[in-house]
Amino acid sequence: MKYLDEYRDPEVARKLFDEIDRITTQHWVLMEVCGGQTHSIIRNGIDKLLNKNIELVHGPGCPVCVTPLDTIDKALAIAAREDVIFCSFGDMLRVPGSTQDLFQVKGNGGDIRIVYSPLDAIKIAKDNPNNEVVFFGIGFETTAPANAMSVYQAKRMGLTNFSMLVSHVLVPPAIKAVLSSPVNRVQGFLAAGHVCSVMGYAEYVPIVEEYGVPIVVTGFEPIDVLEGIRQTVTQLEAGIASAENAYPRAVNFDGNKAAQELIADVFKTTDRNWRGIGMIPGSGWELSDRYADFDAAQRFDVGDIDTKEPEICRSGEVLQGLIKPNECEAFGKECTPRKPLGATMVSSEGACAAYYTYGRFIEIEGVPT
């Protein structure tokens, strides 16, 4: 989709594009944090139709992409065990580990099941008392209440054969990491809508104050993304920076208190390694001491794992918004969704997968892509 008349509501979209044109007087670099937004932007050609002074760079908000390699390798080792039923969201199956992926482990006889909800894994644990059932608990804040609930339920039900391999990541420390980088170009952020449905956006206020960049909570539909861009550019052009909400139908300032309470009970903050980016202090959640018995990394001694990333993969630079996917030499050649070198080419939210799916190969000046 590259034409305005293909939008569900072309009149509203046209007005937003026109308004962004009207207010934009100089070049601005905006980062959309969430991979879902990246896909919406590329699929709908927003980057092509937008005022040429607005540059969108794609953020690290794809949990599948940033789950560290050693955690993937641990998942592979646990999933290969004969006594284990390994449950995961579907997008994790083809994420490359050092030598293989979960799909290959499944092909070699591993009992790996794709679940829609973490509660499905609880049901599997109840139905299979003689197996260890391990759930791969990844995600941003949006997914944390669901994952927390499954551990909470397991403890309440006394399910001793359930555990979780946890690799939760958090948006605000990632935004701070991008802003603290000496090569940062980002001047404003579209914050991830559903993360803020859970957490609210109070925690972005101190970041806005410290770094002086606008952060606007933004939804996922094309019109939502355009409205988020409009509000961000309005702030930038006026020389102000505040935390604003362009997705009020699903987000309020304080977020979902019931969800936050369970998260606070089940998880605690930890330093987290992000695949392709490195360690970001305080950027993850792991199981709190009360739920430590449910930690699969402790329950299964998978030992020290020697990890190995392919040298030509530049997904780390893509995740930090330093390069666009099609600037990587391997893009669309050695690296495709069927044979991915990095997780950004695997996930339905990875920026490389979005560029590949919607045909964004390298652009030659004057030739429309």
């Binding site: 569900r8 969430c34 991979g35 879902g36 699929r43 908000g61 794809c62 949990p63 599948v64 969201f89 579907g90 997008d91 199956l93 083809r94 799909f103 092909g107 794709i114 679940v115 829609y116 909800s117 973490p118 509660l119 499905d120 990844i138 995600g139 941003f140 949006t142 997914t143 209440p145 669901a146 609930m149 339920q153 309440r156 039900m157 991830a192 809508g193 559903h194 993360v195 449905s197 859970v198 996922f220 539909e221 139908r249 699903a250 987000v251 979902n256 019931a258 969800a259 369970l262 069927r338 996930s347 939210e349």
Partner: protein, 98 residues
């Protein structure tokens, strides 16, 4: 991963003390945990992520979002883990044939 799908609550009940319900996503009805949206009742709309209601949402925006998701073909893929598995297996089979 953070995709949320709005649906209409058609039934609310408890299972072992947990607030659960049936939610209708444009004809696909699924059992959803409603613990985090204690204020949401039958006929309300909620945005659902991996089987959990995370926030209430009004009917107009919910139906618009659903129509858009259906158009893009993401609705069934997101709601049905088995469909996702079948797709993965088809891709893997393609890989082996090569």
């Amino acid at each position: 991963m953070c995709l949320g799908i709005p649906g209409k609550i058609v039934e609310v009940y408890e299972i072992d003390g947990t607030r659960m319900g049936k939610v209708n996503f444009d004809g696909i009805v699924k059992e959803i945990c409603l613990s985090f949206v204690p204020e949401a009742e039958v006929d309300d709309y909620t945005i659902v992520h991996v089987g959990f209601g995370i926030t209430k949402v009004d009917e107009e925006s919910a139906t618009e979002t659903l129509a858009l998701m259906k158009e893009m073909g993401v609705l069934e893929a997101e709601l049905d883990a088995t469909a996702a598995l079948a797709e993965e297996e088809a891709i893997a089979a393609g890989k082996e044939r090569k």
